[in-house]
């Protein structure tokens, strides 16, 4: 039985060309980039070139990137940019320290984050006393709510470019425009507090044209694992005027912001994945739009959850009255792999905060299935899987009404 994999938002297979590019660096060019001899210097130079490829994809330079062990670490690192003033020190206070800290109780929130953010943003922002910005029922940021919540103390706003459960694309340019106005106003009034825009672009790198300068983004999280590169590699783009505090201290790699011997193979693979993604950017978008149409035409008895402003490879279906988790197990038996929401939340049995934020009822949330299309899919599969899902859903409805 051939599998039909419909969970590319959770993981993607490493592209064979990516694997090929990585291979020599495991066994032959294994040197530590910091070592003094020539073969090691060659590795160091390859590493920098690879970083440049990744950086160019978002309109940045190699030196703007901090390579991390994935998007979660990059998101965590991004929040070290905020300063909780404690004497003259800029420091990020751990949650435990903050719990009983009078600063936190009396300090207005310095962080705003979109309520539909991934846990690796949401949890950090919450721990630092951040405040959530509402989304509209279509999943797009409520700009009015954003404006209302920005105060003179706000230092950082975090909004994912593409939501990981719905595929909703956020209007970064409009958000940046609001931020520009606030900054201008602060300058006029002599307020020096920084106001940074962070965006987690984990899901977007292979499907959207990204330019950090044009989008007005100060910090951007990138992820190799979602674009057919290796897992455990990510990057944080950091604009020149942002000061971060390292979470990992040691040999001073990555401009002192992320110590540890460079993950050469990972970065080489990441760069190759970026290169391939950029080559196929437009073709992919057309392909997924047509796949999505086939699914929406041929599937039956669903409500479409993510209607507009979404990447076409995300199809979120609601089968009200059905437990979508049961559908996952039924589909699994037929070699079809889908998800209900973010894999990390689902594995803990937690109901999606994203679906709740867009106003779905508990029963609608329980009945929601997330399909995320990708490179492994074909048009044929779309017809086939529509048939399989229809069968499984109708069998399950039959069982319930028995």
């Amino acid at each position: 039985m051939d599998m039909i994999y419909l969970d590319h938002a959770a993981a993607t297979p490493v592209d064979k060309r990516v694997l090929g590019a990585m291979e020599p660096y495991f066994t032959e060019e294994f040197f530590n980039p910091s070592s003094p001899y020539l073969p090691a210097k060659k590795v160091a130079s390859d590493y920098e070139s690879a970083k440049a490829v990744i950086a160019h994809a978002i309109g940045a330079k190699a030196s703007d990137l901090v390579i991390t062990a994935g998007a979660t670490e990059a998101n965590n690192l991004a929040f070290t940019a905020i300063s909780i003033v404690d004497g003259s020190c800029r420091r990020l206070l751990p949650r435990s320290a903050l719990a009983g800290d009078p600063l936190r109780r009396h300090h207005p929130p310095t962080i705003l984050y979109l309520e539909t953010e991934h846990d690796s943003v949401r949890r950090v922002a919450e721990a630092l006393g951040g405040e959530a910005i509402k989304v509209l029922p279509n999943g797009v940021i409520d700009l009015k709510d954003l404006k209302a919540k920005i105060t003179d103390e706000t230092e950082m706003i975090s909004v994912a470019l593409v939501n990981n459960e719905l595929g909703t694309i956020q209007p970064m340019a409009e958000i940046a425009e609001i931020i520009r106005e606030v900054k201008l106003d602060r300058m006029k009034r002599g307020i020096k507090t920084q106001l940074l825009l962070h965006s987690d672009a984990s899901q977007a790198l292979n499907l959207l044209e990204i330019n950090v300068a044009r989008m007005g983004i100060d910090l951007m999280t990138l992820n190799s694992a979602k674009i057919y590169g290796p897992k455990g590699v990510g990057a944080l783009y950091v604009s020149h005027d942002v000061r971060l505090r390292p979470l990992t201290v040691g040999g001073g790699q990555e401009n002192g912001l992320r110590s540890g011997t460079e993950n050469v193979t990972g970065v080489i693979g990441f760069a190759k994945a970026v290169e391939l993604a950029k080559e196929h950017l437009n073709g992919n978008r057309k392909k997924y739009a047509s796949f999505r149409k086939i699914l929406l035409d041929e599937l039956q008895g669903y409500e479409l959850v993510n209607k507009k402003h979404v990447l076409d490879n995300f199809v979120v279906l609601c089968y009200n009255g059905i437990d979508a988790e049961r559908l996952i197990f039924l589909l699994e038996e037929k070699g079809v792999y889908v998800a209900t929401g973010a894999a990390c939340a689902a594995s803990k049995g937690v109901r999606s905060h994203v679906l709740r934020a867009i106003g779905l009822t508990e029963s609608q949330i329980a009945g929601s299935l997330r399909i995320s299309l990708g490179e492994t899919n074909t048009e044929e599969q779309m017809h086939e899987v529509a048939k399989i899902i229809n069968e499984v859903v109708s069998a399950e409805r039959g069982r319930i009404n028995e």
Partner: protein, 420 residues
């Protein structure tokens, strides 16, 4: 209309097969995962979410309804709370026994009945039976019946209710073997699958008293953990796999394509293994260093992290260098001193008499002579019981105080008590 059974599904192979058998025998089956504990401990990830997914996957495969019932608060109050308070007193409690008494055969049972269950079921290795005359007449003359398959030949049944006691295990084994052959001949399945329809009969016999019986698989028998469950719950409980051997359960799971046929069994306490207990306790009980003394000489040999963390008979975890291993033979919790000895035959470790408290009698104990199990899976030892104290013919290795001694008459679990 088909009777409704709510079956507790842990995600393991035993309760999965239990659900499967009930479904195959025509019951309306509802699967329930009891969420009793979800907290990760240092160095140990709590597998509840994986277990839940395993349970649900099986339920979906069987096409049965499935629910998650959250008993975390109650489990914490009733089981963990009890456990900690006992440990603090220097005892070594058995949380599984408490979990069955308070959660599985109380809360789960009550909630299931409320939700419309005619019966509850679990994947325990145990059986039920009934005895309509048990309360008035002695066992010898009783009409004891067992949860054996109705397909059993009359001769076997007669063997089982044999008047001579204790019933010998071999005859029970033989009974299961003969029914295996019967079913094999009927060609329904290569695996011996017991029927358990006697529960319906039990219901009809209003005055009958439920019996808790040891499982056919002597090696897996779990009645040690069940001796304190209420009579009411037991009268409405089905143990679908109690008549099967473990390898048969696994084989059946495999044949029916249940994915968890090879899942590693969870051992000991629901949420901490044997090794993890000390680490678990350290989360709740402050470390308080104290002396380790040799019991014969009173000499201080070393220091420990708190007497409550140690159990009588324990050998590991003592920071003493010595050619021969030392064993904990006595604890003085008040003075926080642990007494150890190299002598495995030390008189503190071996007793001829064991006194019990919190005694729970399931069925009237007619004879002074009983069989006793001092630990799960330990052999049954003959003893005399006067309602308070167990008298053994030979010395037995004394379990730690707080553990249970469970009393049997043949294959009938009569009850038990907590070792003082």
């Amino acid at each position: 209309m088909n009777k409704t059974v709510f079956v507790g599904m842990s995600g393991g192979v035993d309760s999965s097969v239990a659900a499967l058998l009930l479904k195959e025998q025509g019951y309306k089956v509802v699967g329930v995962y009891m969420k009793n504990w979800s907290r990760d401990l240092p160095g140990m990830k709590c597998p509840w979410a994986e277990d839940l997914a395993d349970a649900k996957r099986v339920a979906v495969k069987l096409g049965i309804d499935f629910y998650v019932w959250d008993f975390e608060k109650e489990y914490h109050d009733k089981v963990v709370g009890y456990m900690l308070s006992e440990f603090r007193k220097g005892n070594t409690p058995n949380p599984d026994i408490m979990c069955n008494q308070e959660i599985k055969f109380k809360l789960f049972y009550e909630k299931a009945v409320e939700a419309g269950a005619d019966f509850i079921a679990t994947g325990h290795y145990a059986r039920t039976g009934f005895d309509s005359t048990f309360s008035s007449a002695g066992l010898e003359n009783s009409g004891t019946s067992y949860a054996g398959p109705p397909a059993e030949p009359p001769a076997t049944r007669a063997n089982l209710s044999t008047k001579g006691r204790p019933l010998d295990v071999a005859s029970i084994r033989n009974a299961s073997v003969s029914s295996t052959r019967l079913l094999q001949r009927s060609g329904s399945s290569g695996i011996y699958v017991p029927e358990f329809s006697n529960q319906d009969m039990l219901q009809k016999k209003q005055n009958s008293k439920p019996l808790l019986l040891r499982s056919v698989d002597e090696n897996k028998d779990q009645t040690y953990f069940l001796y304190r469950i209420s009579e009411e719950a037991l009268s409405k409980t089905i143990f679908p796999i109690g008549g099967m051997m473990k390898p048969e359960v696994k084989k059946l799971a495999q044949e029916k394509g249940l994915h968890n046929a090879y899942k590693k069994e969870s051992m000991g306490v629901c949420f901490v293994g044997e090794v993890g207990m000390k680490d678990f306790l350290k989360e709740y009980i402050e470390i308080e260093p104290g002396e380790i003394r040799e019991i014969e000489s009173e000499k201080v040999l070393g220091y420990h992290e708190g007497a409550v963390f140690y159990t009588i008979g324990q050998r590991h975890g003592l920071y003493i260098s010595s050619d021969l291993p030392y064993y904990v033979v006595k604890k003085d919790v008040a003075r926080n001193i642990i007494y150890v000895s190299k002598n495995l035959n030390h008189h503190e470790l071996w007793k001829k008499e064991i006194k019990l408290k919190d005694i729970f009698i399931r069925n009237q104990i007619k004879n002074e002579q009983v069989l006793v199990r001092l630990r799960h899976r330990a052999p049954l030892i003959p003893a005399k019981f006067d309602g308070e104290t167990l008298y053994f013919e030979n010395e037995v290795k004394r379990p730690a105080s707080g553990q249970s001694a469970v009393i049997y008459d043949g294959e009938v679990c009569l009850g038990g008590g907590i070792i003082i």
